[in-house]
Amino acid sequence: MALFHKVLRGTYILRKCSKPTSALHPFLGIRFADYSSSLQKPVASPGKASSQRKTEGGLQGHHQKEVALDITSPEEKPDVSFDKAIRDEVMDHFRRLKDEIVNHWKGPEGRPLQEALLEQAKVVWHFRGKEDLDKWRVTSDKTIGGRSEVFLKMGKNNQSALLYGTLSSEAPQDGESARSGYCAMISRIPRGAFERKLSYDWSQFNTLYLRVRGDGRPWMVNIKEDTDFLQRTNQMYSYFMFTRGGPYWQEVKIPFSKFFFSNRGRIRDVQHELLLDKISSIGFTLADKVDGPFFLEIDFIGVFTDPAHTEEFAYENSPELNPRLFK
């Protein structure tokens, strides 16, 4: 119990101050990298956080801007204590837990059951503000030593998100990679109270709908399932998204039956359809072996039921590759 409380305190320390200091809690030394990458901005209100950061004394280069802006006037004393911040965070989580329990009585995700059951088109991610960009993270092959760059920002008039960068298929000289060159934008896993991992339930929809504007490059859409019971880190379901290019918005509809299963980047012989009841994240990857700049503008991502689509799964297993399935 005491250990759990300590861990909780440790996590909140990390949430409050974006700079993980190992002096605060040696227990969490390993998980610093993970947390610092997931934090883009401190979540708390600016007044508390800035003064708290000042009292912390640990200033990073990228925080100096924010600290400089929040110059407190001399008569106003920063009156925030560390314990209060943690208490607020704990209360916030308990409030979210209470909301979750109450919403469960009302229906799935707090909406009445008839509304949730009859829903046929749902917008899952839209890009209308900076906080919508926080739900995504971008990666490129810089993590393995490549040279591709990728950035994500809001598009024109804050009406869309623009993912842009440069792809470079120059392989890193680390002796084990022969090919390289990929950029990806992955959605963050939805979190509930106490940072529990939640998942999306899209079991009544059968098509993914995207409104995008690309530059003619072929992208790959990857869907990952929830890792609650089974460890499925490297497994995902993918399909291709071909952009047209041009100034017109393009509507891409990909039925979920077309997604094929792959593990660690290679298609498996045994294919099964994507089960929609526990979806954890979706991602877009560009890896078409062509060096150069790229961009992709996304308006929104939704799921809907296409009544004309009756296919259950697009790929059948072959008896030559999997004789054991056909015994």
């Binding site: 842009y164 409104r211 490059r217 980047g265 062509v290 503008e297």
Partner: protein
């Protein structure tokens, strides 16, 4: 057997297991993320070259001609006068075969040939891949008894076969019956290269035609044809017309007096023409660009002619217009929804991004205002109302490959319509 030999054998076996298990068992690769790259594929070639470099670095007492670091590389460099094409590549492959009947070192040679294929431009030629597979000695690597079938028989050669097929896969070359027969002859039916061939034959046909906007492999290099193809690729309206406003002047070595004029190709659909005719001359229209379009591996740039979104009060209400034959007795317009019931709602409850209408698109060789002004003049022939509308040029820099967010220019720029006799005064609003 001495302990040195025992350790070498053990290391070789470990690499064999690791290499084969890593690469072959996990199936066809779909993404370019190099998660699972077999150790064996790179250990063998790299180790060999490192050994060679170790051998050749200390100075030898005898005068020896300098050896190439990679074995058999001189075979590929033997026709420096000739251009690097399929014939010289096949010649080099043939020369290797003439070295020895036993084809000593064929694995290294095949790896080298795979690396050299791109230089010779034959990476998408199936006949060349079949010739490369032909280098393997036949019938030697087929397992003959159950022990050979259990343990991976000739693991380095199987990895090499897999590497050939992997390069075929990454360039999108579909294997044919000859490839299959060669693999059966060389490795047998139950080998890993054969398994990979089965996977290629299964997955390639599934993904060959899924692109709704296909781009042919061999795009023409002529800029006008490329521009025509690109513009048609972008425009969803099939009744749009492509007009070539200016053909690039041929580049002659004498050096013409006037600078070479770039090509200008434009596209406009009848709907866009009608919209431009309806456009209010008080509002300016903008030439924006250049934006990038990728056609397979070639990037072309285009410009668009568009107007800003009308404010809500000026937008046309899609009401019911009264046509001439208006009649009280019969409905002139029926508005029936045949398919949807009351509880069906397939609309997303989000306001989609609305942008101003696009009137025309063009691709030009140069991205400066003079060239685009020629395009506008050409457009004026088919859109006479364009003469009265002020045109503002919103051009980004020469390397503006991205969709620039003109966040600072949300409000319409004040047009200055100083109209001269018959030509239109244009203003440049350059963005850095």
């Amino acid at each position: 057997m001495s302990w040195v030999q025992a350790t070498l054998l053990a290391r070789g076996l470990c690499r064999a297991w690791g290499g084969i298990c890593g690469a072959a068992l996990t199936g066809t690769s779909i993404s370019r993320v190099p998660h699972q790259l077999p150790q064996g594929l790179h250990c063998s070639a790299a180790a060999h070259s490192s050994e060679q470099s170790l051998v050749s670095s200390p100075p030898e007492p005898r005068q020896r001609p300098t050896k190439a670091l990679v074995p058999y590389e001189d075979l590929f460099g033997q026709a420096p006068s000739g251009e690097r094409d399929k014939a010289s590549f096949l010649q080099a492959v043939q020369k290797f075969g003439e070295h020895s009947v036993r084809k000593r070192g064929h694995v290294d040679f095949i790896y080298l040939a795979l690396r050299k294929m791109r230089e010779y431009g034959v990476e998408r030629d199936l006949a060349v891949y079949n010739q490369l597979l032909d280098i393997f000695p036949k019938e030697v690597f087929r397992p003959r008894n159950i022990i050979q079938r259990i343990f991976v028989h000739y693991p380095r050669q199987q990895e090499c076969g897999i590497a050939v097929l992997e390069q075929m896969e990454s360039h999108g070359v579909m294997p044919n019956k000859e490839t299959e027969f060669l693999l059966i002859q060389i490795f047998g039916r139950k080998s890993y290269p054969m398994l990979k061939l089965l996977r290629l034959k299964l997955w390639f046909p599934r993904f060959m035609n899924i692109n709704p906007f296909p781009v042919p492999r061999d795009l023409s290099q002529d800029p006008v044809e490329l521009a025509t193809f690109g513009l048609r690729h972008m425009e969803p309206d099939l009744s749009a017309r492509v007009t070539v406003y200016q053909v690039p002047s041929p580049k002659d070595s004498t050096g013409a007096a006037d600078p070479p004029q770039p090509h200008i190709v434009g596209i406009q659909s009848p709907d866009q023409q009608a919209a431009l005719a309806r456009h209010n001359p008080a509002r300016p229209i903008f030439v924006e660009g250049p934006f990038s379009l990728w056609l397979r591996n070639k990037c072309v740039y285009y410009h668009i002619l568009r107007a800003d979104l009308l404010p809500p009060e000026e937008r046309v209400r899609w009401g019911w217009h009264h046509p001439e034959g208006w009649n009280l007795y019969y409905p002139m317009q029926l508005d029936l929804e045949y398919s949807r019931s009351a509880w069906d709602d397939y609309e997303f409850d989000i306001n989609e991004v609305e942008e101003g209408p696009v009137f025309a698109m063009c691709m030009a060789g140069a991205h400066d205002q003079a060239t685009l002004a020629k395009w506008i003049q050409g457009l004026q022939k088919t859109n006479p109302t364009l003469a009265q509308i002020p045109v503002v040029f919103r051009l980004t820099g020469a390397t503006g490959e991205l969709h620039t967010s003109s966040a600072g220019l949300e409000e319409p720029l004040p047009p200055e319509d100083r109209e001269e006799d018959d030509s239109l005064q244009r203003q440049q609003q350059g963005q850095s």
